[in-house]
């Protein structure tokens, strides 16, 4: 019995020693960004795609000098889509005195992280950390749940839906709304109704549906219902198999629909849509490789092309570069890598992004506001997606100043 405990203790000691060796080997003064996302299991493609884009952007920014003479360093942690693991990553980050924790996926993990970061920063004022949110889009995170230590660098659900509604063509009069049955999908459902009523009162919602997350394999019954309702367009916040299978069913049934989505541009989407989707599928996205040639911005095009040549998927998150540029500017402005000082420097910062658009990190709620694009999946674009021969054609760009939505955030700020 004793032997077992001794062996176990030794194993734990060795394991952690190995880890801390690895950690301490990086004790040159780099600015650490601890990045956590699913890197294994069924959602590994999300984390993996993001990781590659982050690595590329960081080496690019480091090549331009980093910040305050120090380079940035990304340390990945597998969250395995479980909040408990992400919280463990947070602990590791604070052990390393890293100023930034970066996370780009599920809102359930984001909610857990905001709470944990708030509590940690309150209980440990000498070892604070900032939570950089690059993908969790639930509205609550910059409204009811807003926090001084949280900075969201992707537009929230409300803003994405507003982008989509603004870009909805005038000839669409009947839409069907279909979403996944959980907080995010229900949020999309609510926001679509709000913004359609506000901006397009002429549009009628002929159907409104919630489906259980990830469980439906056969969407043809839903397509039947949608066709029967007479809808011309389908609006959906579905992601993963829930959108891929829905689109496939729609194409196969010959439904005369246009599909307005939030996430089909992510890795895996274009492959699943295939050539059958030419001109039918639209998605709101922060960036597409075809935007730079359209704007005739050669420097930006070279930036994305280098990434593209090394990877099989589209550089949809080239906006990570904007995030790093903001962090870089905030560090320089604050003159230090102390989390509290960076936070004060970062909120309210306004810069132009690498395409030349105006963007701002709004002080009231720490929501980043930038332009957003509606892209159509079509033939005849310069850069295709995932070797399918079709790519995302940026048909409309909604500017930041049109997306300044009100917020209910009552931000509590610490003493400077």
């Amino acid at each position: 019995m004793r032997k077992i405990f001794r062996a176990a203790a030794a194993a734990v000691a060795v394991g952690t020693a190995l880890f801390s060796m690895q950690a301490s080997a990086q004790s040159q003064p780099t600015i650490k960004l601890v990045y956590t996302d699913p890197l294994s299991g069924p959602f590994a493609q999300v984390g993996d795609a993001n990781l590659k884009q982050w690595q590329y952007v960081i080496s690019y920014i480091n090549a331009t000098g980093g910040a305050l003479g120090r380079k940035f360093e990304l340390i990945p942690f597998d969250s395995k889509t479980q909040p408990a693991e992400a919280l463990l990553a947070l602990k590791a980050a604070t052990d390393m005195n890293a100023p930034f924790l970066v996370h780009c996926s599920g809102s359930n993990i984001a909610a857990a992280l905001i709470e944990a970061v708030n509590k940690h920063n309150a209980r440990n004022p000498d070892n604070r950390i900032l939570y950089i949110n690059c993908g969790a889009v639930a509205n609550e995170l910059t409204n009811e749940q807003c926090s001084f230590w949280h900075f969201r660098f992707d537009l929230n659900v409300g803003q994405k839906i507003e982008t989509m509604v603004r870009a909805l063509p005038k000839d669409i009069k009947k839409v069907y709304v279909l979403n996944q049955d959980y907080l995010f999908g229900q949020s999309v459902q609510r926001d679509v109704k709000t913004y359609l009523t506000k901006l397009r009162p002429d549009v009628q919602i002929v159907g409104d549906e919630l489906i259980p997350l990830g469980k439906i394999k056969d969407f043809s019954p839903y397509i039947t219902k949608i066709k029967a309702s007479g809808a011309q367009a389908l609006i959906s916040g579905n992601w993963g198999p829930d959108i891929n299978l829905l689109l496939k069913a729609g194409f196969e049934a010959g439904a005369d629909l246009r599909y307005y989505t939030l996430y089909t541009h992510l890795a895996g989407g274009p492959t699943a849509i295939g050539p059958a989707g030419d001109g039918k599928v639209l998605s709101v996205m922060p960036f597409t490789e075809n935007l730079a040639p359209q704007l005739k911005n050669e420097q930006a095009e070279r930036f994305t092309k280098t990434f593209r040549d090394a990877n099989k998927f589209e550089f949809t998150s080239a906006t990570f570069r904007t995030i790093l540029e903001y962090l870089q500017a905030a560090i320089v402005k604050a003159g230090s890598t102390d989390a509290t000082k960076i936070a004060f420097a970062l909120e309210g910062l306004a810069q132009k992004d690498f395409l030349g658009y105006d963007t701002v990190m709004r002080k009231d709620d720490h929501q980043f506001i930038s332009q957003y694009i509606v892209g159509t999946f079509a033939k005849g674009v310069k850069y295709d997606a995932e070797g399918t021969g079709l790519g995302w054609r940026p048909d409309s760009v909604v500017l930041a100043k049109e997306l300044m939505q009100p917020t209910s955030c009552k931000m509590k700020r610490p003493a400077k």
Partner: protein
């Protein structure tokens, strides 16, 4: 009316796909008592093998060869894995297949990458066959129906008309007796396991380009197949068939029935408002829980009738 017919057709197609997957598992489970967690992995392998093969030799040859490859993998698993573990009990066999499922998923990720692969419906079958009340019925679905029906027919013929088939039938219900009669049960086991795996692979070849082919497909198809097998009952392929069609129709029709328990209560004059206890539960419309109905049915049938629908043995 049109909704009824379209849903009926859709439900049948989905049910037949489920049957292709579940029939192999019923055979394996009934004969060997092994809850094969790697069965859905064979489905995934079938799709991936077919994708790679069809890049070189076209879809039709892939349709023939990919299931055979899966069957070989299944035979290897049985001979070098399950047979060693058989003496340690059913739990050990289950864990073996569970470990295999994890390994296969990771290997698929390492070989083909994390993203879905562009495994598409062959051009010869990519057209609309006929119109059903304004909705097109795709030719590939007819193809799926045809293949599953043909497969069902072949299994039935093999089980009832060949000698091996009769031995298998007997082993489905009385495995010890068959062994006592002197038949080479281990070889039969290998044959059944390989055939079951090959059937799953065939389902993957056909289903993979219809749905998406990515490393998470085993993880998503797994539970519903178990539900079908247990619901249909041990030792009965006919039960499995009925259960598959039933589940397919159930899930399809649930989508079009837009009612909730609150609507039912309203008929009796009881109104449910947001302050009623369990209001959230009562106002749920059926489409939202459609995908959960199989599990509810599973729990109910196991509670009242553990044999399943048409089982000949207790689970």
């Amino acid at each position: 009316m049109e909704v009824f017919f379209v849903s009926l057709l859709n439900g049948l197609v989905y049910g037949m796909l489920l049957f292709m997957l579940a029939s192999g598992l019923t055979l394996i489970f009934s004969m060997m008592g092994v809850l094969n967690f790697a069965h859905a992995s064979a489905y995934m392998l079938g799709a991936y093998f077919a994708y790679t093969l069809s890049l070189y030799i076209g879809f039709w040859w892939a349709l023939l060869l990919a299931p055979i490859l899966c069957g070989l993998v299944g035979a290897a698993i049985e001979m070098y894995g399950l047979r060693q573990v058989h003496r340690h009990g059913h739990v050990a066999e289950l864990l073996l297949t569970f470990g295999l499922a994890l390994i296969i998923e990771k290997c698929v990720q390492m070989i083909w990458g994390l993203l879905p692969v562009p495994y598409r419906i062959p051009a010869e079958l990519d057209f609309a066959l006929f119109d059903v009340f304004g909705t097109q019925f795709h030719a590939y679905r007819a193809f799926m129906l045809a293949i599953s029906a043909a497969m069902f027919g072949m299994i039935w013929l093999a089980l009832t008309r060949t000698r091996v088939g009769l031995i298998i039938q007997a082993s489905l219900t009385h495995p010890e007796m068959v062994r006592a009669l002197g038949h080479d049960v281990p070889k039969v086991f290998t044959l059944v396991f390989a055939s079951g795996t090959a059937l799953a692979g065939l389902a993957g070849v056909i289903g993979g380009n219809y749905h998406t082919t990515d490393p998470a497909m085993a993880f998503s198809m797994g539970p519903i197949v178990f539900v079908v097998v247990v619901f249909g009952g041990l030792g009965s392929l006919a039960g499995c068939f009925i259960a598959s069609i039933l589940m397919g129709l159930l899930q399809t029709f649930a989508v079009v029935l837009d009612y909730s328990a609150a609507d039912l209560l309203a008929k009796f004059g009881v109104t449910v408002s947001s302050s009623t206890p369990f209001a959230e539960l009562l106002t749920i419309p059926i489409p939202r829980i459609g995908a959960l109905l199989p599990y509810i049915l599973l729990v109910l049938i196991l509670f009242f009738r553990p044999r399943g629908l048409m089982g000949t043995r207790d689970t």
